[in-house]
Subunit: 314 residues, 2 copies
């Protein structure tokens, strides 16, 4: 479990390389909710998502021997692109295992950042087998998308910047997928502000974290079908332990609420966000009666969308 | 014709009320063009477009007698919403004449900012007659969308902020509709930087400014059918004279190029812009061979879109 000092160290390590993203407010959304919402715009971050924070923290923490052998991961989404980008900054090899059926849009991003992509079946065992094969052949260091201390510490720097800028917050809403982002953000928030409540925003159709949180036992993800494709992953032991310790509640949102919130962000704030980002605003709207007059932070995690694909949802 | 000192005075007048919008750069678009492009993001401006600059300059320039009687205009787009917003700041009446067939999206924005909306036929003579009727009844001051010195001076402040931030620019691209924005921006640019070239970006399907510029005589707009609905208006004598004096060239772009540029901005920059904003990037792409290695400014004029409507274009 990373400590707050690890997140501070991560920030020093990565700050020269990443954007300090803008914190946006929007009057009409504030009126709608009845609270002051501070959106941390990681959709405007390098590589289009917060994932570069963890990826660059991991890559800039490698020792000389590890650098020579490169890094490997099996994320086909934003983490894959971010790791490839960070590896490019250090001029080291990056191997990314993606399922055959990954969309061209995401695959292209990973390839454009210079990763060596190899393919597996869609199922996790096949992806893990292919990843282990690469590790055996190359000695590359596995950088797991969220079951990794450096990744969690890097992700926590988004909350660090947000709180540093806004100073006070009553609530912080963070999307929950594998739990890396909310783990880092929750450790940060609870260390920087006493009394802040950290709320996970999770799609109803991928509610493993909610189930785990409520039962106190790590529950598996069962056939996640949510439109928030970045949040179909499941908590691991590491992130579940952090969530249990630092997160105050998890709020579920259905797909219609996610899409409505995304439309609101695009039309009112004039920024492009993923479905997986819009879950935070959807969760805020869901419990807005509890938030009257409060100062509320919300992580907008990414903005990588294939417009043609997204438009079919709207 | 406003002078640069009028634009500086406008900036002092309106700066406390408007956003100093961000200047964005994007590595992948820079690579595509082979130049360094500085996007002035007026889509993130209050009311969602640069129009609040001119509208607030006009409203904050009214004398006490004029304030009592309010303001009137016959724009059904961003200028109508901006004037209503600025009038609201001073707590004065704002009358907006819109054609019956104006889309619900735009009408709602104008009404939400507190304007008293009245309706006319779609044709200009009917709109002017209705506007004159209101002036006769109320004594309200007409704030024309672009044939107005205060509007032009206000619009020029976007270029002022851009150049103040970027310091040097070889080119500045500005959308051309009625010519208010490019007039103000061109006066500003030519006064702040020697050697800068100011280029108008105009839809081929609404090319009155191009025809006027090339023939040296003000030409009428003939049935504009471009998707860039904010640019279907025509130059007036006032703006044509400024364009002739200060603008170096006008580059035409077709609707397909406008839509492609808009998609590029949404997907790469993660911001929502109108078709009428994307004309600047479309024009830059059109003459990119002339821009190699140059520093290029581009005004992104607004971001007010009805997503469902825009999505049919993509």
């Amino acid at each position: 479990m990373p400590e707050f000092k690890d997140i501070q160290a991560a920030y020093k390590r990565i700050a020269p390389h990443i954007h300090r993203t803008v914190v946006m407010t929007n009057k009409s959304i504030n009126t709608l909710v009845g609270a002051s919402i501070y959106f941390k715009c990681e959709n405007l971050q390098k590589t289009g998502s917060f994932k570069i924070r963890g990826a660059s923290n991991a890559v800039f923490s490698l020792n000389d021997d590890e650098l020579k052998k490169g890094v490997v991961t099996h994320s086909s989404g934003n983490h894959g692109a971010a790791l490839a980008c960070a590896a490019g900054w250090r001029n080291i090899a990056c191997y990314v295992v993606t399922p055959q059926n990954t969309s061209g849009f995401k695959k292209n991003a990973i390839i454009n950042y210079g990763a060596r992509v190899s393919y597996s079946d869609a199922l996790l065992p096949s992806r893990i087998a292919q990843t282990e094969k690469i590790i055996k052949e190359t000695g590359a260091t596995l950088i797991h998308p969220y079951d990794n201390e450096k990744i969690i510490a890097g992700a926590g720097t988004s909350a660090l910047e947000l709180i540093d800028e806004v100073k006070e917050l009553d609530y912080l809403f963070v999307p929950v997928g594998g739990g890396g982002s909310i783990s880092g953000c929750a450790i940060t928030a609870k260390n920087m502000l006493t009394g802040i409540k950290v709320i996970g925003a999770e799609p109803q159709l991928a509610d493993d974290a909610f189930q785990s949180f409520k039962t106190g036992t790590l529950q598996p993800q069962r056939e996640p079908r949510t439109v928030a494709d970045g949040l179909r992953t499941a908590l691991c032991d590491r992130t579940f332990n952090i969530v249990r310790k630092y997160v105050d509640d998890i709020v579920l949102v259905n797909d219609e609420q996610i899409i409505d919130a995304m439309r609101l962000i695009w039309e009112r704030m004039k920024i492009v966000t993923e479905t997986s980002s819009a879950v935070t605003l959807a969760a805020i709207l869901n419990i807005k009666n509890d938030l009257k007059g409060k100062k509320v932070g919300a992580i907008l995690s990414g903005g990588n969308v294939d417009l043609k694909e997204v438009l079919t949802l709207l």
